[in-house]
């Protein structure tokens, strides 16, 4: 096992990384997939220096006084909030990553393996991920582009956006909006919910979904004529079957509006325009 205490800006390279785990406080955290060698850069260090551990393909970045189970209780010490570091890591594309930061923006890109991100305050940016992704922030937004497999995103006060989504999507926010562009809807389950934010979903003309859109005090509008209004007093519902109805789309909001848009076949996704 090798250990480094990073007191000044440093770059390290590793022959093999099979798992990455990062726990930092403030600053920023980026993880990108690479076909080259794995490497780690740490800059802008303030407060206690972070520690890097490398043991048999497992790379860990964190603080030495972080005790294993209780991330939250560890946070309770006030002085810890002063810790700051900009951590950037390039890992092999099939390396699972587990990231936790307190107040920092997180970027994750170009991975095929499982991704797990927990942020208390900060935005999460996801791009080009084909493994299952679980992204959670308390106050911040999640912006995902080309996340093909299973995406679970959650926030309290930010917006959730998915451009070029593929498979299963679970998105939940309290006061933010949910905006999704689904490339091929018809297999997994898509569950979207907000309390007060608007929900906008665009999907291809030929989708195979069982749909149920619901709002208590907002408005629902849909570009799919096959869906019918079935609400009772106090709840508006638009539901029905599209195509074979194999997948499920479930969108629920308390006071937001719901809009289900149709993506014309010739209209490429925004992200394809490059």
């Amino acid at each position: 096992m090798a250990t480094w205490t990073i007191e000044e800006p440093k770059q390290l390279t590793f022959d093999e990384v099979r798992r990455l785990r990062v726990r930092t406080v403030r600053g920023s955290l980026s993880v990108v997939g690479t076909d080259d060698q794995a490497r780690l850069e740490v800059t802008d260090i303030r407060g206690m220096p972070p520690t890097v551990r490398y043991d048999d393909g497992v790379l860990e970045v964190g603080y030495d006084d972080w005790s294993q189970p209780g991330f939250l209780s560890w946070l309770l010490g006030r002085r810890k909030w002063r810790r700051h570091a900009v951590v950037s890591v390039a890992v092999p594309r099939d390396c699972p990553v587990d990231l936790g930061v307190v107040a920092a923006g997180v970027v994750v890109s170009g991975l095929r393996a499982e991704v797990r991100v927990r942020v208390m305050s900060g935005d999460i940016t996801l791009a080009g991920l084909t493994g299952p992704v679980d992204a959670e922030t308390v106050s911040g937004s999640v912006e995902a582009h080309a996340v093909a497999a299973r995406l679970r995103m959650q926030t309290v006060s930010g917006d959730l956006t998915l451009v070029d989504g593929g498979g299963e999507v679970h998105a939940r926010t309290v006061s933010g909006t949910v905006t999704c562009d689904l490339a091929a809807a018809g297999s997994g389950e898509i569950r979207l919910s907000t309390v007060s934010g608007d929900l906008v979903v665009r999907m291809p003309d030929r989708s195979d979904l069982t749909v149920r859109l619901q709002t208590t005090s907002g408005q629902i509008s849909s570009a799919f004529n096959a869906l019918k209004r079935t609400g009772r007093p106090g709840v508006q519902v638009v539901e029905g079957l599209l195509g074979a109805g194999t997948g499920r789309l479930w969108a629920n909001t308390t006071s937001g509006n719901v809009a289900l848009l149709r993506r014309e076949p010739e209209e490429p996704a925004v992200g394809d325009a490059r």
């Binding site: 850069e41 451009v163 665009r202 809009a259």
Partner: protein, 225 residues
């Protein structure tokens, strides 16, 4: 642990350093450290054996100068280096590119895409809501008070009519198309202007076009009306 120089890349870079000038071993080590911003911290234990190996292959030679070995590249070494120029360029690019910069680029790109996309969908949703409201209102009007189509009278007799201040109703049914067109025009322009970074000159030019169009419309309406 840790070499940037897997698959014979260190060997390649050693040749490159010696091509620049003859150097002694310690100089080679500190140059490696400098060039790679601390990313690669080579030890004498990895560098000296490689130099010896290169020498055994006839790619470098050494001479004793002031008690230190000074290594220099041979013609065979230069040939090998020439054959692998592309590889060398890739190696140098790889090492210079910072993960942080790359991640920042990715983040900015995703943000831009997401911003455009959200804007586009918000517009589309708003348009759809308006259209559907419009349809609903029509349906209501048709069922509540179907009118004759002769809509030139100054006294509107349609229930639900709230006066000419309601923009949806100015000019009667024939003007409805105009209203829709105007709205589509607005949305279209808005979308175009949002997507591009407009320069001041472009804004002035567009404004001139608009003024001209308004003049035309004014004339048309004055003549025909």
């Amino acid at each position: 642990m840790s070499t940037v120089f897997s698959h014979g890349r260190l060997r390649l870079y050693l040749l490159k350093l010696l091509e620049e000038s003859p150097r002694h071993g310690y100089e080679v080590i500190s140059l490696l450290e400098d060039r790679f911003m601390g990313m690669y911290a080579p030890s004498p234990g990895t560098v000296y054996p490689r130099l010896q190996r290169l020498e055994a292959e006839g790619l470098v030679t050494h001479s004793q100068e002031g008690g230190r070995k000074v290594y220099r590249i041979t013609d065979a070494g230069r040939e090998e280096l020439d054959r692998r120029r592309d590889e060398l360029a890739t190696l140098e690019a790889d090492i210079r590119s910072s993960v942080r910069d790359l991640a920042r680029e990715i983040r900015d790109e995703v943000r831009g895409t997401v911003r455009d996309f959200k804007h586009e969908l918000k517009q589309a949703a708003r348009e759809m809501r308006r259209e559907q409201r419009h349809e609903n209102r029509h349906r209501q009007e048709r069922s509540e008070a179907p009118w004759s189509g002769d809509w030139t009278g100054s006294e509107p007799h349609v229930r639900g009519w709230t006066g000419p201040s309601r923009p949806g109703d100015w000019g009667g049914p024939s003007a409805e198309e105009l209203e829709q067109r105007l709205q589509r025009f607005l949305d279209g322009t808005h979308q175009l202007a949002y997507r591009m970074q407009l320069t001041e000159a472009q804004v002035r030019e567009c404004a001139a076009i608009l003024d001209e169009a308004l003049d035309h419309i004014r004339q048309t309406l004055r003549h025909k009306g």
